[in-house]
C-alpha cells in the first residue's frame, strides 16, 4: 500500500511537472509565469473540488508541486470561512500555508546569507 502511494506520487507529480515543461517549450511563458499560473490553477481547481480528488490519489505528487500550494491556500480559505464567516476568506489561506511561507522566507534568507553564488554571467 505504501509502495503504491509512492508510485502514484511519482506519476501525478511527474505529469504536473511535464505539463509545466510543455508550457515552457511550447509557449513564451517564463518559469516565473509558470509558477504564478500553477499556483492560481491549483487555487481554482481546489475551489472546484477537483484538486482534492487529485490529491487523494496522488498524495505528495499533488501537494509538492506548486499547484498544491494554491490548493492549500484555497482549502484554508474555505475552512476558515466555515468557521469565522467572511473574515475567514482573508485569514484562511495564509493560515493554512503559514508553515510553508515562513519556512521559505526563513530558510531562504539563512541560506542566501550563508552561501556564495558561483559567479555566473
Amino acid at each position: 500500500m505504501m509502495f503504491m502511494k509512492v508510485l502514484y506520487a511519482f506519476l501525478v507529480g511527474g505529469i504536473i511537472c511535464a505539463i509545466g515543461q510543455v508550457l515552457i517549450d511550447k509557449t513564451k511563458l517564463t518559469p516565473a509565469r509558470i509558477l504564478v499560473l500553477f499556483v492560481t490553477t491549483g487555487a481554482v481547481l481546489g475551489a472546484l473540488g477537483i484538486y482534492e480528488k487529485i490529491a487523494d490519489f496522488g498524495g505528495a505528487g499533488a501537494t509538492i508541486p506548486l499547484t498544491g500550494f494554491g490548493y492549500t491556500l484555497t482549502r484554508g480559505a474555505f475552512r476558515d470561512v466555515d468557521q469565522y464567516g467572511l473574515l475567514g476568506a482573508f485569514t484562511g489561506g495564509v493560515r493554512a500555508a503559514a508553515a510553508g511561507i515562513a519556512a521559505a522566507i526563513f530558510f531562504g534568507y539563512l541560506v542566501s546569507v550563508a552561501s556564495k553564488s558561483k559567479a555566473k554571467r
Binding site: 517549450d25 518559469p31 509558470i34 475551489a47 491556500l73 480559505a77 521559505a104 534568507y109
Partner: protein, 152 residues
Amino acid sequence: MGKKMVKDFTHKEYRDYVEKKSPKSKVLANTVKAFVVGGLICVAGQLINNFFTSRGMEKDTVSNLTSIIMIFLGALLTGLNIYDNLGKFAGAGSIVPITGFANSIVSPAMEFKSEGYVMGVGAKMFVVAGPVLVYGISASIIVGIIYYLLHY
C-alpha cells in the same frame, strides 16, 4: 553596440530561433526529463510524508512538516550550487515542485547579495516568490469570498 545586439537577440528572436531549429524530439526529451525529476522530487516528499504518518502524526501536521523539510532541502541544495545545475537538466521538473519555489527565493538573493542585505538579499528573495504569493493569496481570498456568498 555589439553587446546591445546580443541582448536583443537573446529575448524574443532567440526563442523563435530555437523553436524553429529544435526538433520535436527535443521537446519530448525535455518533457520526459521534467516528468522523471519532478516525479522523483514528489517521491521524496511522499517518503517524508509516509515516515511522519507512520509515527502517528495528524494529517495537517504531516503535510506542514513535509513542506518545511522540502523547502529546507530546496534552499540548501541551491546554496550548495546543486539545484541550479539540476534545473539545467530537469527544467520544469525542478521548477514546479515546492523545492523550486525555495530555489526561486535563494538563487536571486545569492546573486544580488552584493547589493546589500536589505535591497539585495531581502528584496531579491521575492523576485519570483512575490508574484506567486500575490496571485496565490489573492486567488484564495477571491474563491473564499465566492464560497462565503454561495454557502452563507
